[in-house]
């Protein structure tokens, strides 16, 4: 019985991590209708920055995390201003080709700079090991992930629903033309949101080095997972992707534990079935345009 809870807990931690990694994509793909397959590249950037700071420069882990966020966000903002913004109006094929190109470039560049082997981030000793809670083994690191990601999710939800920026973003997404007419600087809102999403991906990348493994092929390996979160979760709110990430996380951990040989098979099958059953996602409200 306790294994069930351990799996559940690991699954939740994994799912929350996926959510932080993918929620930036939920905005670009779901709300701005831009197919950004290079999202994983930003996550990888954050992960590697964190690794370099902690392992080579001797920074404390918790100081490196914000920097991973900031750097990824800055790179995201720079790319959005120079390249991405020209592609919003282009066909999906162009967007796919462009972002696959970016992904390939990032994979090769990181391979060139950092080498192709998997990289580990030295964790503070307080985060290692696990403790027992009513007989359920709980990893300290995973607990930290649940806490951080849980707080982030709450903050995101509050920003989206309560702040002025949140309402601007929702307006810009619902009807960009009307939003411009009302004096909202839509390109600026999109640029800021894009950068923020990239920053979150970077943070997620830094956190995930321990659990998902970080190597140059990270963007390609996990691209499908991010896409699953967004397409299955739907794009009408932030809750959809969140629930989808939890489902995916728990499902993946459970599948790997109970039917290890079927591995990824289960996840892909579930995804295809869901997409056939509800093409706009499990929690989708509006039709994807």
């Amino acid at each position: 019985m306790t294994t069930v809870f351990t799996i559940l807990f690991d699954g939740v931690a994994y799912g929350m991590l996926l959510f932080v990694l993918a929620c930036g994509l939920a905005v670009t793909l779901g709300l701005m209708n831009f197919v950004n397959l290079a999202h994983g590249a930003f996550a990888m950037t954050g992960g590697y920055i964190c690794a370099v700071l902690v392992n080579n420069q001797g920074w404390p882990f918790f100081a490196a995390l914000p920097l991973a966020f900031v750097t990824s966000a800055a790179i995201g903002a720079a790319l959005e201003r120079t390249l991405y913004q020209h592609l919003y109006a282009r066909s999906h094929l162009d967007q796919v080709l462009f972002t696959i190109g970016l992904t390939f470039m990032s994979v090769a560049a990181v391979d060139y700079i950092m080498g192709s082997s998997r990289i580990f981030i030295k964790l503070p000793s307080a985060l290692e090991g696990q403790f027992d809670l009513f007989g359920v083994g709980i990893g300290r690191y995973r607990l930290m992930i649940v806490v951080i990601c849980g707080l982030l999710t709450l903050a995101l939800q509050l920003i989206l629903s309560r702040t002025r920026f949140g309402s601007r973003l929702r307006a810009a997404v619902d009807d960009p033309r009307a939003a411009i007419g009302l004096g909202i600087n839509v390109p600026q809102v999109f640029a800021f949101t894009f950068a923020f999403g990239c920053g979150l991906a970077g943070l997620g990348g830094a956190l995930s080095a321990e659990i998902l493994g970080l190597d140059p092929y990270f963007p390609l390996k996990f691209m499908i997972y991010f896409l699953i979160v967004v397409t299955v979760g739907g794009s009408s709110s932030i809750t959809g992707p969140f629930l989808a990430s939890l489902l995916l996380g728990i499902g993946d951990v459970a599948a790997k534990y109970y039917v290890p040989k079927m591995g990824p098979f289960v996840i892909y099958t579930i995804m295809i079935v869901i997409l056939i059953w509800r093409p706009n996602g499990l929690f989708g409200r509006t039709a994807a345009r």
Partner: protein
């Protein structure tokens, strides 16, 4: 009545063989005599050309963006490999057709998933199917040989007469003939009323269905046919290299394929063939500079192509040939940018 006549005349006019097309195939035929030492790479180009032709059928003519076309390539490759390895069908041509049909069956059943939903869902579903096939290949590694791949494939002579030689000469001619026959078939299909209706669907599915085109049935048909083509390409891969490993399903293969097609241009059939030549030449070039990191350069090519604009690049490339043609054959005889790219 007269409208139907108009359509059939214009379809017939556009399906007539042009001088440039004949020239193209003459150049292709001349290649083995010009570069007799490079059969292997030329065979490689032919296989890639056939595979790209298959993607062109669905992307260029029906507008289906697929990120998982390698699934059919892989099924074809493994079918051909298994048929030869276990001696079920020893005759390569027959095995080729059977392998193509195996991929076609998969294509038919997955087409129902693909026709549902919009671009994004299609991307996901095609990608998911390719990943699923890869996971299956890994799971049943006792059949597929896992990451080591199928080993010890022995090919019998084609039609019992032409044995595969170590220089790849037989393999080259075999691929060329298969490619040419399938190209003729594809050309016939896209210039038929069926092909015209596909273009109507690509340009506007809603209008197409409003004028009475059974959109879903047409998409299923072309998707299944494209799967057959991709399966044949995969089978040719196995038969000429005597190799089939899990990377036939890889995402990079599907992504490269899109690049090849985009380099060549979509929607006029020759895009795949020209793209394959340019892609392989680029690959040779980049691998000579940085063997390990050629992925970077391929990525850069993709980014630049999109940023500059595909149609614009094709116009630049065609500028010189058009200048020459205009000098020789007068003002009207120019090679135009394929319509699919212009949009």
């Amino acid at each position: 009545m007269s409208a139907a006549n108009d359509v059939s005349t214009s379809a017939k006019a556009s399906s007539r063989w042009r001088v440039s097309e004949v020239l193209f195939w003459i150049v292709v035929l001349a290649c083995p005599f010009l570069f007799p030492s490079r059969y292997l790479i030329m065979t490689d180009i032919l296989r890639l050309a056939l595979f790209t032709l298959s993607l062109d059928l669905i992307l260029g003519y029906a507008g289906i963006v697929s990120l998982g076309h390698a699934a059919f390539f892989g099924v074809g490759a493994y079918s051909a490999g298994l048929l030869a390895l276990h001696g079920i069908i020893n005759e390569p041509v027959l095995a080729l057709i059977v392998a193509g049909l195996a991929a076609m069956v998969l294509g038919f059943f997955t087409s129902f998933l693909v026709i549902r939903g919009v671009d994004l869902t299609r991307l996901m579903v095609t990608l998911g199917i390719a990943l699923l096939m890869e996971a299956l290949g890994e799971r049943f590694s006792n059949i597929t040989g896992g990451t080591d791949g199928l080993q010890g494939i022995e090919m019998q002579p084609i039609l019992g007469m032409f044995a595969f030689d170590m220089f790849g000469k037989t393999g080259f001619w075999y691929c060329l003939i298969v490619l040419f026959l399938l190209f003729l078939l594809a050309r016939r299909i896209v210039h038929s009323p069926f092909g015209l209706s596909l273009r109507a669907i690509r340009n506007n599915p809603l209008r197409a269905s409003a004028i009475g085109i059974p959109v879903n049935r047409r998409l299923i048909a072309i998707y299944t046919l494209a799967a057959f083509y991709a399966g044949i390409a995969g089978a040719l891969f196995t038969q000429t290299t005597q190799l089939a490993s899990l990377d036939v399903f890889s995402f990079e293969r599907s992504a490269d394929l899109m690049l090849v097609l985009v380099i060549g241009g979509t929607g006029y059939l020759y895009g795949g063939l020209i793209g394959a030549v340019v892609f392989k030449m680029l690959q040779e070039l980049f691998q000579a500079i940085t063997p390990q990191y050629w992925l970077f350069w391929i990525g850069l090519v993709l980014v630049i192509m999109v940023m500059v604009g595909r149609a614009r690049i094709h116009r630049w490339v065609l500028w010189l040939p058009n200048l020459v043609i205009r000098q020789i054959a007068g003002r009207k005889a120019t090679v135009v940018v394929p319509e699919a790219d212009a949009s």
